[in-house]
Structures are given as C-alpha cells and as structure tokens.
C-alpha cells in the first residue's frame, strides 16, 4: 500500500515521465479514497497551466527592461568587437 508521501512523489514524477503500470494503478487506487492527494494532483496541474500561461505572456513573467546604461555598455563592447573583426580598408 502506498502512503501519501509516496503518492505525492509519484504524482510529481508522473508529470515528467510515464510511470510503470504498477505505480499508475496504485496511484489511481489511492486517489479514489484520498481527497488530499486528489487535490495535490489537481493543484500541480494548475501550476503547470499557470507556468505555461506565464511563458506565453511575457509581461507576466518580467516587466523590467534593460537600463539605458546597460545598453550603452553593450553597444560599446559590440562596437569594439566589430572594429576588431573588420579592419578598415586601406
């Protein structure tokens, strides 16, 4: 018999790889009578939906932009590298 600690670990694993059938069956049976693990499984699915929505909506993920100082630094280093890579024509 699996306990809740085992089942919570297996639920997490099942989101990354297909479980062996024995474990799948044992988890299903456990979920039939354990409301807490049922909630746990549903909430992990919700987490996945939330993360995917975050990925699809960049402004949710991060609203900070590069500072103009950082951009100036980048332009400078890029220009140096450009000058080195293509010597001026004689």
């Amino acid at each position: 018999m699996l306990n809740c600690r085992d089942v919570s670990r297996l639920i997490s694993q099942s989101m990354d790889a297909r479980l062996p059938w024995r474990h799948r069956l044992a988890v299903r049976l456990h979920l039939l009578y354990c409301v807490w693990c049922r909630r746990y499984a549903a909430q992990l699915q919700f987490l996945r939906r939330a993360m995917q929505k975050m990925a699809a909506t960049p402004e949710f993920a991060e609203d900070q932009k590069l500072s103009s100082e950082a951009k100036a630094r980048m332009r400078g280093r890029l220009q140096q590298a450009l000058d080195r890579s293509s010597p001026p024509f004689p």
Partner: protein
C-alpha cells in the same frame, strides 16, 4: 565534461566581417530588450541576465560568417542565447546541492505525519486545502506577483530548473544533459519546486478563498 552545445558556436574570431543579412549595429536597439526579457526570469539576477545578452551578441558577431540566412536574424540570436543559457545552467549545475532522496525533503517537513495511525499520510495542518476556482486567478494581475514571489523563494536554482521544465517544456533528458545533474537529482528538484510552490500559493494566495475542512 564535454561542451557539445557551445561547440556549435565558433569561438575563433572570424577574419571576415559580418555576413550579409545581419546588422550588428542595430542589435542592441532592436533585440536587447526582448532577449533580456526572455532570460531575466530564468536566471537569478539582472547582472547575470545582462551578461548573457552581452555574450550572445559577441558570440553572434564571431559566428556571423556562418549565418546562412535560413532563419531570421532574431531567431538566430535567440538560438545563440539559448545555448548561452544552457552553458550557464551547466556551470550552475556543479554547484547544485541535492538532498538525499531517501531522507525527508525540507519542503515535506510537517506535511506528513511521522508516527501513529496516519504515518506518512498528510498532516491535518498542512494537507492540501480546496482551492476555489483556481483558473480565475490566471487573469488576476496580483496572482502573477504572488507566483513570482513564490518562485523567488525556492532554494538555489530550483526555480530556474522548474521554469525550464514547465515554461519552456524542455524534456527531463535535455535538462539533465544541459545542467549536468542526474535524473534522480532532477526529479528531486522538480518535486521540491512543486511542493514549495503549491504550499506558497496556498498560504499567500488561496488562503481564505477556499472551503476548508
């Protein structure tokens, strides 16, 4: 450790100028914000994100004779940034300390009874509560702020690994290879992230929103 991913990025400076179709002079103007926005949530701090964007531009310049024009300049730069990010994770992977799987994880502390009839069952205090209409949260701006705070509280690089898996949909095999962790260590990190985030959201967002028992 072999460096397969970066080997496709030439490190020898080219003797030729950038190839046609590329405008390095406009890169910072046109792409830096977008590249930074992609990477900043995936690493631990702004300075690292800035460094990765900078490294991307310099690597792109060196590799520019190989730019075949098969993809857009933007897609090409993003491809290089992803390789730089993978390199970063591989370096970080060496520092990731993973607790023993057999011992209880820190995120599990108090969540399961350790003795009595309900041994290894959820403890009444920390068992998952009912979340009322969770998907309504996905249109709530405040929810995203809470989720980001919860992500930032995860230990070490757990959040970054979790984001690779859940936001970018990278397979566990690829993450293991890119970050240089064993499959076992990876699933422990993912499990810890899920336990920690679930609990954090429950306490800081869903508490009071659901019916408890």
């Amino acid at each position: 450790m072999s460096d397969q991913l970066s080997s496709s990025c030439p490190t020898q400076p080219s003797r030729h100028g950038p190839s046609a179709g590329l405008q390095p002079e406009g890169w910072v103007e046109n792409y830096s914000d977008e590249l930074f926005g992609f990477v900043v949530g995936r690493v631990r701090d702004h300075a690292t994100a800035e460094d990765l964007v900078q490294e991307t531009f310099l690597a792109a310049l060196k590799a520019s004779p190989d730019f075949a024009g098969r993809s857009s300049e933007r897609a090409w730069l993003f491809g290089i940034l992803r390789k730089k990010l993978a390199d970063y994770f591989r370096r970080a992977g060496r520092e990731i300390a993973v607790p023993d799987v057999e011992s209880p994880l820190p995120e599990e502390a108090g969540a399961f009874y350790t003795s009595g009839v309900g041994k290894e069952g959820w403890s009444k205090l920390l068992a998952p509560r009912a979340w009322e209409e969770p998907d309504e949260s996905l249109v709530n701006k405040e929810f995203w702020a809470v989720l980001k705070r919860c992500l930032s509280r995860l230990p070490g690089h757990t959040a970054q690994i979790f984001m690779l898996r859940e936001m970018d949909g990278v397979s566990t095999e690829e993450i293991c290879k890119d970050v240089g962790v064993s499959p076992n260590n990876l699933w422990v990190m993912l499990h810890r992230a899920r336990l920690g985030l679930r609990r954090c959201l429950e306490v800081h967002w869903f508490r009071g929103k659901g019916k408890n028992e």
